[in-house]
């Protein structure tokens, strides 16, 4: 019954209630978005980083290399010679090496030339179909299959570069032969093929730029190759003059992890960057922004606490007759204390629930736009019991602290005096 009074009172002064709830909702939703973003962001980054000790790539910004090769976010710093890279890939200290060749995209989704080592390295499973075996066969990530409705057997043309609006390579179509199972890693957003497909796509393109006669010769040559010579040719000198973008390395040897980032740039045209190191640097950068926003949100929560306090305190004067009335019908002092606390607790609980709901809605829209821009999706339906539970207790504490003085005033009300002065 006390809770019924508290509940009815909460809605009896809707304007006060509304203000407090809006402030609480704002702060809780900001904090819950930040909690989820940070956790899912780090999780995404860390899960894609699994098993990669070093990334081999063109000289330039190491962070750019990591972002482009491991997370497929940035443009790569440049290409490296496959033969030069192979010298390092084949060293005994290397446990596994995944070469990556970029060049094209389909509707903004990167087409990555690689080997079957990629799926092994990241523990990816094929959900439908098979892995690419021949040139121009591709396996698509689960999100792509879901978002643009690619099915096994579909064909499409790649677009040059990493933006949707580039030049279309319309002489060779890619064919979908498999779809990956969802992994929560960047592979969900990738189209995988073999490296040769990426090379062929671009060799062809360059030769097109020559005279029409050359192009004609080339097409004859291609016919001949198709009859079997090409295979032979590649065995003799498979990767001479070919370029790839980066190599993901897993090393057996901790010493190599430490020394290669120094040795490789000294001796080659390449660099070796450590994802763990670069990502930590990135998190440190993000961390500043996230903590600034978190402080802001706690500031708003503090203001909502003040607003609850003011609302409760202001109504104390008019409500003291209500309290006196409760006392003369037999209510104890403690029940009055509880009544005031409960009203604040109701506000906070409503604010918290709305905040969590709006936070989810906000994250959903954030996820939609980040998926368009960065191919990175967030899951708004994840619930972090520990962090959000702590947030709930923080919200409740704000409510209880805000209500404690008004509650004590109600508790210690002198009924006789109140009624005599009525």
């Amino acid at each position: 019954m006390i809770s019924k009074i508290a509940w009815k009172n909460t809605w009896f002064k809707p304007l006060n209630t509304f203000l407090s709830i809006i402030l609480l909702t704002a702060s809780v939703s900001i904090i819950s978005i930040l909690i989820l973003l940070q956790k899912q962001f780090e999780e995404k980054f860390s899960s894609s980083m699994d098993n990669i000790d070093l990334v081999l790539g063109a000289k330039g910004s190491p962070l750019q290399l990591i972002l482009s090769s491991v997370y497929q976010i940035d443009a790569p710093p440049g290409n490296i010679s496959y033969t030069e890279a192979e010298a390092w890939m084949n060293k005994p200290m290397v446990e596994s090496a995944v070469p990556l060749a970029y060049g094209d995209n389909y509707l903004g989704y990167k087409i990555v030339g690689t080997t079957d080592n990629y799926t092994k390295h990241f523990g990816l499973k094929i959900q439908q179909g098979t892995l690419f075996a021949k040139d121009f066969e591709v396996v698509v990530g689960s999100n792509i299959a879901a978002n643009i409705g690619l099915k096994i057997g579909d064909t499409f043309f790649g677009t040059h570069g990493d933006v949707e609006e580039g030049e279309v390579h319309d002489h060779h179509a890619y064919k979908v032969v498999g779809i990956l199972a969802p992994s929560g890693k960047v592979a969900d957003q990738l189209i995988l093929t073999n490296i040769a497909s990426v090379w062929h796509m671009h060799d062809h393109g360059h030769e097109h730029e020559g005279s029409s006669e050359e192009a004609h010769n080339h097409s004859e040559e291609a016919h001949v190759h198709a009859e079997g010579e090409e295979h032979h040719h590649e065995e003799v000198n498979p990767h001479e003059g070919k370029e790839i973008t980066a190599v993901l390395l897993k090393l057996r040897n901790n010493m190599a992890k430490m020394t290669w980032p120094r040795i490789i740039p000294q001796n080659t045209e390449m660099q070796a960057a450590s994802p763990a190191l670069e990502v930590n640097r990135l998190f440190a950068l993000f961390g500043v922004g996230i903590s600034a926003l978190t402080y802001l949100a706690y500031g708003i929560m503090f203001i909502s606490g003040v607003s609850i306090f003011v609302a409760l305190y202001n109504t104390l004067k008019e409500r003291r007759y209500e309290f006196a009335l409760l006392r003369i019908t037999g209510a104890t002092k403690f029940q009055l204390l509880w009544l005031v606390l409960l009203e604040s607790i109701f506000l906070c609980t409503i604010g918290f629930i709305l905040g969590i709901v709006f936070g989810r809605i906000g994250l959903y829209f954030l996820s939609v736009s980040s998926q368009e821009e960065f191919k990175m999706a967030f899951d708004p339906f994840e619930f972090l019991w520990k962090e959000e539970g702590m947030l709930f207790f923080a919200t409740l504490s704000v409510g209880i602290i805000a209500a404690i003085i008004p509650a004590i005033k109600a508790y210690s009300l002198n009924i006789s005096k109140t009624l005599a002065n009525a």
Binding site: M1, I5, E322, L326, T329, G330, K333, S416, A422
Partner: protein
């Protein structure tokens, strides 16, 4: 029934009240009159256990209420004393019915909804039970107060100027209603008032001076 002996009370060293003894058996109405400043409301608060006397005894239903600790006194007040105040106070957010039911819940931890409805019905408030108290007229509000005071079958009903805000007609109706209800429920009714209109209605009177 309610009895007092040698009750005294003082707000300060200079202002000291010595109240006449009261003996009001069940079903009877006692009118306490007096001018302003003679301690009418103080006496009523003493009888209701809202104030502690400096000396004397107050016995309600054979229970000396001065022997009770704060929590027990609160419970005793809820169960055995019904108070009707000069102004009508309500939990503004609750309906008329809920305001009456609330008193039964606080005193007995049980919601006497049917009983509340029947009392409100008897008091002619049948059509108003689901309204907010602020939507009623002053006379109707006073009747809701009466219903709330009666819901727990109290041994004693204490009424503080119950008619002062009412017109002549309504004042007499309310006063008669109170005394009839006190008889019906076998409660002692004590009315504290300076309202001259009531003096002709009741035989038992004490005048404070």
């Amino acid at each position: 029934m309610i009895k007092t002996q040698n009750v005294t009370f003082s707000y300060s060293a200079t202002q000291k009240f010595h109240f006449p003894d009261i003996d009001c058996p069940n079903g009877q109405t006692l009118l306490i009159t007096g001018n302003s400043g003679t301690g009418k409301t103080t006496l009523l608060h003493l009888l209701g256990g809202l104030l502690q006397p400096t000396a004397g005894n107050i016995t309600i239903n054979n229970q000396d209420i001065l022997q009770l600790n704060a929590a027990k006194l609160d419970a005793f007040r809820g169960q055995s004393i019904g108070m009707i105040l000069q102004k009508s106070f309500f939990i503004e957010a609750l309906s008329v019915l809920d305001n009456v039911v609330l008193a039964s819940w606080i005193a007995k931890k049980a919601k006497a909804k049917a009983k509340a409805l029947s009392i409100l019905n008897n008091l002619g408030l049948k059509d108003h039970v689901h309204k907010l108290p602020s939507q009623l007229s002053i006379g109707q509000q006073q009747r809701v107060n009466i219903a709330r005071a009666l819901i727990n079958n109290p041994s004693v009903i204490l009424a503080d100027e119950p008619t002062s805000s009412l017109d002549d007609e309504n004042a007499l109706i309310v006063a008669r209603l109170l005394s009839d209800l006190a008889k019906e429920y076998q409660s002692s009714l004590i009315i504290v008032t300076h309202d001259q209109r009531l003096k002709s209605l009741f035989n038992h009177q004490i005048t404070l001076s």
